[in-house]
Each structure stands twice: as structure tokens, then as C-alpha cells.
Amino acid sequence: MTTGSQTPLETQMLEVSVGPQHPSTHGVFRMNVVLDGENIVKLKPVMGYLHRNHEQLAENMSYLGSMPFTDRLDYICGMTNNFAYALAVEKLAGIEVPEKAQYIRVLMAELTRLVNHTLLVGFLLNDLGAFFTPVLYAFREREKILDLFEAVAGSRMMVNYFRFGGVKADLPEGFLGKVKEILRNYPKFLDEFERLLSENEILRSRCQNVGILTKELAVSSSITGPMLRASGVNYDIRKVDRYSIYDRFDFRVPLGSVGDVYDRYYIRILEMRESLKILEQLIKQYPEKGDIISAKGAQAAKTPRMWKPAAGDAYARIEGPKGELGFYVVSDGTPKPYRYHVRPPSFINLTILEDMCLGHKVADAIVILGSVDIVLGEVDR
């Protein structure tokens, strides 16, 4: 019998295709993974399964015509998609927004942030193996906010609520009372959620020091939103651009220190608490009287197929719940946009997925992908 030889045993790399029909890919997304044992040595994201050329559709219709289509980009956050598109066209055509409409917009945007972050945390736990219990709690809370969206826009997710120069409809009676109720109950829910999760031993050991993203790589890879801030970069477009009326509210920008999955989870909890702070101030300042749409905007809403902005181009961006959501619109003076481009945060945040996953196990890749927060409607457009 021979003792162990000096040459190592011959092994083979294993190629695994995770997705597109996999519950943890959050839609139809595929990762081509090469494994050495259980360690990832290569990972290539494959996307486009949901591609419908949203941009070309928008270039073949009136400016207002694509407002409902923006809801379907990131279908969790219809309101903020509307918001960014409205800002871009307002910048292009020089449309003012009345004060009351500004308040309604920020109110909707922050409620959307609550919806998005709550769901993300729930689904992240799903990816960790806590099957559907945290998500059910998250859905329970989201339901209450979606009820409000339904009351104001007539639809729970596909809201189509914003118009150039304002919003579609005034808040119904008793709306702010309902928001106050949510503000009263949400901190309790977050405390409960945190008691369950933040100190949880299993969650910590699965998330801490997994998928670390450094500051430098995050900035040069155009990562935005909670993911960038979890890596410790202080960049919140609400603070930097001060678009709409965000300069009237006092809120902090929470930052992470390590840049791992746990920081990305925790930053979302902290951001929800900041959003609650913004909403509280907003309700105190809310003007009961005033227009909800400016005269120029009303003109565009009344005759959408005749309305044409002057030739030129404009780029507007907002701090969406997932990161920087931007719209680039070029007008050639006709009623249809000559060029319409979406800068989708979840698509660009996937750029460094491979870098974060290298050296980790397959199960970690699932969690890392979950912490990026993608919606395939927006990735594939």
C-alpha cells in the first residue's frame, strides 16, 4: 500500500446555474456560478428575461402616456418611480410645483420607502431560511400603507398618481389621521421586528462579515442608496440635491461601518426610523389649502397628446428606496420624447455582485443578492 502521494487529488470545478426560476432570485434572474467545492470562484449575473424595451415604448407615446408604465419598473415603489419621472419632465419643460403638491409628494415617497424597506427585510430573512414568518409580519404592515395608496390613487401598487406639476388628486378626508395612526404603530412594529432579528444569533452569524463592500469600490462602481451608505459613504441625494422640499425636514443619514450584509440590513431599519421622523414633521407642516397642480402642469395633463416641451434634454434623480433613480429625457419639440432613459438603481447595484460573492459559499451568495435589493421589473426594463 502506498502512503499519500505528493500531487494533490485531481478535482473539477462545478458550474451551477442558479435561477432563473429560483425563489431567492426575487424574480427571473440567473447567476452562473462556478464552484470549487462549495466556494464561489466565479459568478456571472444573467438578466433580461423580463426585458420589454420600456424605453422604446415610452419613445412611441406622449410624455404623460408613460407615467403609468413607470409604476411597473420597480413595482414595489410605484410612487417614487412616478416622482423621478415627473421631476425630469418638469425640469425639461420648466414646470413649477405648488407647495401643497410638494408635501403630498414627499409624503408618498417616504411611505413608499417604509413599504420597500419593510419588505426587503422580510424577504432577506426568507433568503436566510426563516421561511415566510418575518415576511408575513412585513406584509401585514405594508398592507396598511397600501390601503392608503388605494384611497388616494385608486390602486395599491400601480398608482399612476403623479402628474407633471403636481399630483392627480387631493388627499381624501381623514387621510392624515390614518397616516398618524401608522406613525404611532410603526415604531412598535420595528421594535418587535428588531427584537426578533437584530440581536438574533443566527442572523448575526449568517450576515456579519459576509459580502463586504469597501467604500472605494462602492463609489467607483456607482453603487447608490442604502447599499452605499452601509459601506460608510455619506451620500444621500435628499441631502445633496435637496430636491422638492427635503430641506425643510430634519433627519439623519445613517451610515454603516463594515459594509457587510448585516450593515445593509440594519441601515434599512434605521432609515425607516428616519422616514418616520420626516413624516411626523411633514404632518405638522402640511398646508390644508392650496393647489395640487400648477396651471402649466394642468395643461399638460388635459391635452397629453398635444403637449410638447421645447427641444432640449434633462436629467433628474431622486433618492429612491433602492438607490439613485434617474430619468434622462431628450425632447425634439414633438409630443413624443425623442429619448427616454431610466437609470435603474437595482440594475447598476448588481455590477459588483461577483466581487462581493467571491470566496463565499452558495448559501451566502443568496443572502448577498437579497441584501442588494433588486426588483427585476427595473433591472430588465
Binding site: 438578466m47 433580461g48 426585458h51 424595451n53 424605453e55 422604446q56 469600490l217 463609489v219 467607483s220 462602481s221 456607482s222 453603487i223 459613504v233 451620500y235 445633496v240 432640449g312 434634454d313 436629467y315 434623480r317 439613485e324 434617474g326 434622462y328 431628450v330 425623442y338 429619448r339 432613459h341 437609470r343 440594475f347 447598476i348 448588481l350 455590477t351 459588483i352 430588465d380 426594463r381
Partner: protein, 151 residues
């Protein structure tokens, strides 16, 4: 930051650079793009370390494709600086920005996929949204769809 001032700084720093100002945007010649990007990213005055949005536009009547870049500075919290690069439609080649901005990787692949702009020096220039066998570039203005009514 005025586009005119940036143009002056660029011409002072990079001899022989071709750059013009159009509205708020800088139009940079493709052969000077890398030098200009390097300057804007590294220079202490600008530090434009964040490429926010990169996209193509097809100007069919003018005969060129345009790549539009919106640059911001995370460090200084300034921006945007709009840098546009124009290439002829029949030979759309320009240098890739990936060496300076990793965030250009997927966005350039998308622009290549939908507009057919070839970014030279890109580490992995493949189609990203459409499948590899797809023919043509559907965001071009002269693209004919299969089910389109013919005149």
C-alpha cells in the same frame, strides 16, 4: 461648475484636446475621452468620482450616436457635469470608461446591446438584456420591428 470653466481647465491640462460646450454639456472627442475622464476624476478641484448615468442616444438626422455621461462628485457633493461623446453611426467606436468608473460596466453593455456603440477596452462587452443571437440594435431610430406597419 460652469461648463465653460471646465472646458478652459481641460484645454489647459490636456494639450490638443478637442472639447466644445453645448448648453450645459461638454462635447468631448472620442480620442480624448480617457484623458478627460482621468483629469475630471483625479483633479483636486473636481474629483468627479461617481459616474451616475451612462446612456446612448441615436441622432439619426445628424448621423451620429451619442454617449451621454452624467458625472458627480461623492467626495465634494457637486455635480452633475455632463460629458457627451459623439461617434458616426456607421463606425460607432469609443473608448470604454470602465478603467476609471467600474459603474460603467453594465451601462456600457446595455448601450452596446441596444444602440450598438462599441466601447473599446471594455473587459466583457456582450449583450446584457437581449439574447446573444439577437440581430440589430432595437433602440436605433431606424430599427424596424417585426410587427411594424410598413409604409
Amino acid at each position: 461648475m460652469k461648463a465653460e470653466d471646465i472646458k478652459n481647465d481641460l484645454t489647459a491640462a490636456i494639450p490638443g484636446i478637442q472639447v466644445t460646450v453645448e448648453g450645459e454639456a461638454l462635447i468631448v472627442a472620442p480620442e480624448n475621452l480617457l484623458a478627460a475622464a482621468g483629469f475630471l476624476k483625479e483633479n483636486e478641484k473636481y474629483r468627479l468620482d461617481y459616474l451616475s448615468c451612462l446612456t446612448g442616444v441615436d441622432y439619426l438626422a445628424k448621423g451620429h450616436l451619442e454617449s451621454v455621461n452624467h458625472l458627480y462628485s461623492v467626495e465634494k457633493k457637486t455635480g452633475p457635469v455632463v460629458v457627451k461623446v459623439r461617434v458616426p453611426r456607421n463606425n460607432p467606436k469609443m473608448p470604454s470608461l470602465v478603467p476609471f468608473y467600474r459603474g460603467a460596466e453594465f451601462q456600457e453593455r446595455e448601450s452596446f446591446d441596444l444602440f450598438g456603440i462599441v466601447y473599446e477596452g471594455h473587459p466583457d462587452l456582450r449583450r446584457i438584456l437581449l439574447w446573444d443571437e439577437f440581430e440589430g440594435h432595437p433602440m436605433r431610430k431606424d430599427y424596424v420591428q417585426e410587427d411594424q406597419d410598413q409604409p
